[in-house]
C-alpha cells in the first residue's frame, strides 16, 4: 500500500504498541479502583477483563474501518456522510480528543497539588506543562511517538515494581467470595472501567502515520492486552491491600499502595511516583492534542502551529477556571457518558455504515 505521507514522518508498526499503551494508561490507573468497585465490589476484576475484550473488538473494527478508507477518520466521515454532515462529525471528533486531553491535564495538576505541592498555584504548573506539551507536539508525530516510547519504558521500570511492596500486608481473603455480584452489577462496573480505556480512539487519527498499517494491528492488540493486564494486576494488588470500606475513602489507591515501599536511602516514594508519572502523562496528553490539531487542520485548514498554540492557550485558561474538584468530576462524568456512546454505539455504527457504503460503491 502506498502511503499518503512522506516516509520521513512515518513510524514503524511496532510503535503502535507504545502509542496504545500510553494512550490508555494515563491518569486513570491512579484512581480507577474506586470507580469500578462501586457496583461490582471486589468482583470488579472480572469487569476489567470483560471491558478489555470489548475494546479488543472495537480496535478490530477500527482497523477494518480504516483499512477500507486507508486514511484517517476525518476522511472516513467525509466519505460516508458528505461534506456538511461529515464536517459536523469531524468537529465533534476534534472536541472529543481535546476535551479528553483537558481532563487528563487538569486531573494531573490536581494530583500534583494534592500529593506534592498543596500551595502551588494552578497557573504556574499548568504553564510549564503546556510549554512542555508545545515542545513535544511541535516536534511532529515522530517525536510524540518517541515520547510514548520513553514514557512507557522509564515509568514502567521504575514504578511498576513499587506496587509489589504492599503485598507484605496483603490479605488474600478480600477477593473471596468470587462471583458474589449479579451480572448487571458487573456490566455496570465494566462501563465504569471503559472510561479507563478511552484514548485508544486516537488510532483513528494516527493510522496514516504508521508504516505498513495493516501489519500494525497485532501490536495494537498487544498494547491493549498489556495495558489491561497492568490494570488487572494493579487492581488485584489494591483489592488484597485495602478492605472495601477503606477503598471507598481512598481517592488514589494506586499512589497509596505504592507509598508503602521503603528503601535504605529513600522513604516516601510517592514524591518520586507523582513526578515520574509526568513522563507518562506527557505523551498521553500530547497524542490527544496532536490528534485534535491534526483534525482541525484537515477540517478547516489551519496551520497546526497556530491551532496548537490557540488550543494550549485555551487549556491554560480552562485549567485555571476549573478550580473545584467537583467541577472536574462533573466534566469527567459528562465526558464519560459521551465517550460511552461514541465508543460503543458510534464505532460499530460507522463500521457497518462504511461496509455497506463500500459495497454499494463497488
Amino acid at each position: 500500500m502506498k502511503s499518503l505521507l512522506d516516509e520521513r514522518h512515518l513510524v514503524s508498526s511496532f510503535y503502535v504498541f507504545f502509542l496504545i499503551y500510553t494512550n490508555i494508561i494515563g491518569i486513570g490507573i491512579m484512581s480507577f479502583q474506586r470507580d469500578i468497585t462501586k457496583d461490582a465490589g471486589y468482583d470488579a476484576w472480572i469487569s476489567i477483563i470483560l471491558s478489555s475484550i470489548s475494546i479488543h473488538i472495537l480496535v478490530w473494527m477500527i482497523y477494518r474501518i480504516l483499512g477500507i478508507a486507508k486514511n484517517d477518520v476525518i476522511h472516513v466521515h467525509k466519505f460516508c456522510f458528505g461534506k456538511w454532515i461529515g464536517g459536523l462529525f469531524n468537529i465533534f471528533v476534534i472536541f472529543y480528543f481535546l476535551i479528553l486531553a483537558l481532563i487528563v491535564f487538569r486531573v494531573y495538576i490536581e494530583v500534583v497539588q494534592v500529593w506534592l505541592f498543596p500551595l502551588m498555584k494552578t497557573w504556574q504548573i499548568s504553564l510549564i506543562l503546556l510549554v512542555l506539551i508545545y515542545y513535544v507536539v511541535s516536534g511532529g508525530f515522530r517525536v510524540i511517538t518517541g515520547m510514548c516510547f520513553w514514557g512507557t519504558i522509564i515509568p514502567f521500570i521504575i514504578l511498576f515494581p513499587l506496587n509489589f511492596f504492599s503485598l507484605e500486608f496483603a490479605n488474600f481473603h478480600n477477593l473471596l467470595p468470587v462471583f458474589n455480584h449479579s451480572l448487571k452489577e458487573i456490566v455496570s462496573s465494566s462501563k465504569a472501567m471503559l472510561f479507563q480505556y478511552v484514548g485508544f480512539e486516537t488510532l483513528f487519527m494516527f493510522y496514516p502515520f504508521i508504516k505498513n498499517p495493516d501489519r500494525s494491528q497485532k501490536w495494537a492488540h498487544f498494547g491493549l492486552l498489556f495495558s489491561s493486564l497492568l490494570y488487572l494486576i494493579v487492581a488485584l494488588i489494591t483489592f488484597v491491600f485495602f478492605s472495601e470500606g477503606q477503598l471507598n475513602h481512598t481517592i488514589w489507591p494506586t499512589l497509596a499502595q505504592m507509598k508503602i515501599a521503603k528503601f535504605p536511602l529513600i522513604e516516601r516514594v510517592e514524591f518520586i511516583v507523582v513526578s515520574i508519572w509526568l513522563l507518562l502523562i506527557l505523551p498521553n496528553i500530547s497524542v490527544k492534542i496532536w490528534a485534535g490539531c491534526r483534525a482541525i487542520k484537515k477540517v478547516i485548514n489551519v496551520k497546526q502551529r497556530i491551532s496548537l498554540f490557540s488550543v494550549l492557550v485555551l487549556f491554560f485558561i480552562i485549567a485555571n477556571v476549573l478550580k473545584e474538584r467537583s467541577q472536574i468530576e462533573r466534566l469527567n462524568e459528562m465526558y464519560s457518558n459521551i465517550a460511552f456512546y461514541f465508543v460503543y454505539l458510534y464505532i460499530p455504527f460507522l463500521f457497518l455504515y462504511i461496509h455497506i457504503k463500500h459495497k454499494i460503491n463497488k
Binding site: L116, L132, G139, M147, R268, V269
Partner: protein, 511 residues
C-alpha cells in the same frame, strides 16, 4: 531560504569579478606588493624564462636542486625548450601543471607552486610544485586529550596529508575514497571527506559534501568550526558529529560506515552520523575483554547520569522533600547543614561555580601549574568553605563526585555538554523540586528525540528501537556478536567480518 538565495547571488558576483581579470600580468602586479614574492629570469637573457614564487611558501632546497641547477650550472641549450609544454621533460618534478587560467595560477601560487613563463606577459605558464608544507607544523603525534592506557597512542596532526596517510595505513584498501573540497574565502583550506566505497551509504556522503560545499566563511581554523556549520541543529548543547583525535577511533567509524571529515590544520577529525551512545564509547573498550569493557561502559553512563542529576536531586530533597530522607540519614544531613545560612540552591550554585572556575582556570594554565592548582583549589577551597560553614560536607562530596564523573566521558565535547546541563536542572529543582527534575528530564528527552545527525535520529538504537544494533551500545558484546555493522547507518554491506560459527556441541561435563 533567504540566506541561501543570497549566498548563490554572492557566488555569481564572485564569478563575474574573476572573469574580468584573466590576465596573468595583473596577478603579478598584485603579488609584487608583498616583500616575500620573488620574480627573476632563470637564464641571463632578460625577459626570458621567468620564474615567480613566494619565497616563504616554497622549499628552497628543491628550488636550487631541481630548477636552478638545470638552468644555471651547465650551459643550458635553449632549443630544447621551444614551447612551455616541454618543461615537463626537463624538470624532474612530478607535479607540473601547464595552464593559461589565471585563477588556477593564483590559487596554486598560494599553495607553494612556482610560476614559470617562457616570456614576459606570456599567458600560458607552467606551475611547478615546490611547496614546503611540513614547515611550521608539529611533528609529534601522541594522543593528548583522548588518552587510553591500552592500545595505540597515535593521534592526528595538523598536517592533512599525514592524517590521510595514517588512515590509509589502517584501511589498506582502494575502497577508501577521499574527496577534496576547498573551503574558506580567505584561507582556502583543504577539507577532505573520507568514506569507504561499498560500505558507506551514498546518502551520508552526499549530505556531508553538500553541506560542506554550502559553507561560506573566511578562515577555517579547525574541524570543530566546520562541525558548527554543518550540524543539523545549532540550537543544542549536544555535539551532533563526533570529533576525535585518535586514529583508531576514526578508522572504527569509517569501517562502520560513517563519513569522516578532515581539515588541513586541524588535528581533529569529525565523524558522522553519530548517536548519543557513541560519546560514551572509549576506544579502550575494544582492547579490553568484553565483560570488563561493558562494565566500564555502564559505569560511564551511570556516572554521567549522576553528574547531571546529583546536585539537583540534593536541592530537591533538601528544599522540598525532606520527608524522603530516612530517619537514620536525617541526623547526619541536618548536622552538616546546621550552620549553613543559605538556602540549598545558593549553596549548590556557589560550589558548582567554584568547580567550574577551577576547571576553566586549569585549562588555561600551563600543565604543571594547572595540576597544583587543581589540588590546591579542590582540597583547600572545599575544606575551607565547609569550615566557614558556607556549604555542607555532604554537598561538597556530591559536587566533587559529579565533577569527577563528568570527566568519564571519552569525548571532551560531551563532558562540556554535561557540565552545562546541570545548571538548568538546578534551576528547575529549586523551583519545583522533584517534579522540576522530571520536567527537566522530559525536556531533555524531547530534545534528544528531536535531534538528528546527518538526518539519522540521535537516540538510535534506543528510539527508533533497533534490537540488533544494541550489541555495541550500552554493552560491548564479544567480537563474535559485533560482526555486523549498525543498521541505522544504512551501510551497503552489513557484514564487517564473518566470525567462526562452529556451533559448540552441548556435551556433558567430562566428555
Amino acid at each position: 531560504m533567504f540566506f541561501k538565495k543570497r549566498k548563490i547571488r554572492n557566488n555569481k558576483d564572485k564569478q563575474a569579478v574573476t572573469e574580468n581579470s584573466q590576465d596573468i600580468g595583473q596577478l603579478f602586479a598584485k603579488v609584487k606588493k608583498s616583500s616575500d614574492f620573488k620574480q627573476f629570469p632563470l637564464t641571463d637573457e632578460s625577459g626570458h624564462l621567468i620564474i615567480s614564487y613566494y619565497n616563504t611558501l616554497v622549499d628552497q632546497q628543491q628550488l636550487q636542486l631541481k630548477i636552478l641547477m638545470i638552468f644555471r650550472e651547465t650551459p643550458f641549450e635553449l632549443d630544447r625548450l621551444e614551447k612551455i609544454d616541454d618543461i615537463k621533460k626537463i624538470i624532474a618534478i612530478e607535479d607540473i601543471v601547464i595552464t593559461d587560467n589565471r585563477n588556477e595560477a593564483e590559487s596554486k601560487l598560494l599553495k607553494g607552486y612556482a610560476i614559470l613563463q617562457m616570456k614576459e606577459n606570456d599567458q600560458r605558464v607552467a606551475l611547478i610544485l615546490l611547496s614546503n608544507d611540513k614547515a611550521g607544523l608539529r611533528e609529534q603525534n601522541n594522543v593528548e586529550n583522548e588518552f587510553s592506557v591500552v592500545g595505540p597512542q597515535i593521534g592526528f596532526l595538523e598536517n592533512i596529508d599525514v592524517n590521510i596517510h595514517l588512515l590509509r595505513q589502517q584501511i589498506n584498501t582502494t575502497d577508501l575514497i577521499t574527496k577534496e573540497v576547498n573551503i574558506g574565502s580567505t584561507s582556502n583550506t583543504r577539507v577532505i571527506i573520507a568514506h569507504i566505497d561499498g560500505i558507506t551509504s551514498e546518502q551520508h556522503v552526499n549530505t556531508m559534501t553538500q553541506r560542506l560545499q554550502d559553507i561560506d566563511f573566511d578562515v577555517i581554523f579547525d574541524t570543530s568550526q566546520l562541525h558548527q556549520f554543518i550540524e543539523d541543529n545549532s540550537l543544542t548543547p549536544f555535539p551532533l558529529l563526533l570529533p576525535t583525535e585518535r586514529v583508531d577511533r576514526a578508522v572504527q567509524a569509517l569501517i562502520n560506515g560513517q563519513v569522516a571529515v578532515l581539515s588541513s590544520g586541524s588535528p581533529y577529525v569529525i565523524t558522522g552520523p553519530s548517536t548519543i551512545i557513541d560519546y560514551f564509547i572509549s576506544p579502550e573498550d575494544y582492547f579490553l575483554p568484553w565483560i570488563l569493557a561493558s562494565f566500564f561502559r555502564l559505569i560511564r553512563v551511570f556516572s554521567v547520569l549522576f553528574s547531571i542529576f546529583g546536585t539537583s536531586i540534593y536541592i530537591a530533597v533538601i528544599t522540598y522533600h525532606y520527608e524522603m530522607i530516612p530517619n537514620d540519614l536525617f541526623g547526619s544531613l541536618s548536622t552538616s547543614r546546621y550552620n549553613v545560612p543559605f538556602p540549598p540552591v545558593l549553596e549548590v550554585i556557589f560550589l558548582e561555580f567554584t568547580i567550574e572556575l577551577l576547571r576553566e582556570a586549569g585549562v588555561r594554565l600551563p600543565t604543571k601549574v594547572g595540576q597544583t592548582l587543581g589540588i590546591v583549589g579542590g582540597i583547600v577551597i572545599g575544606q575551607a568553605s565547609v569550615e566557614a560553614s558556607l556549604t555542607s560536607n555532604v554537598l561538597l562530596i556530591i559536587v566533587a563526585l559529579s565533577a569527577l564523573a563528568s570527566f568519564t566521558t571519552p569525548i571532551y565535547k560531551m563532558s562540556n555538554t554535561i557540565r552545562f546541563l546541570r545548571f538548568p536542572l538546578i534551576l528547575f529543582a529549586s523551583i519545583w523540586g522533584g517534579l522540576g527534575i522530571v520536567i527537566g528530564i522530559a525536556f531533555l528527552l524531547i530534545h534528544l528525540t528531536r535531534l538528528e545527525s546527518l538526518g539519522t535520529p540521535y537516540t538510535v538504537p534506543f528510539y527508533p528501537f533497533r534490537p540488533e544494533d544494541l550489541t555495541d551500545s550500552l554493552i560491548r558484546s564479544s567480537y563474535s556478536k559485533t560482526s555486523k555493522r549498525p543498521n541505522y547507518l544504512r551501510p551497503k554491506s552489513i557484514w564487517r567480518y564473518h566470525p567462526h560459527n562452529h556451533k559448540k556441541k552441548k556435551s556433558d561435563f567430562d566428555e
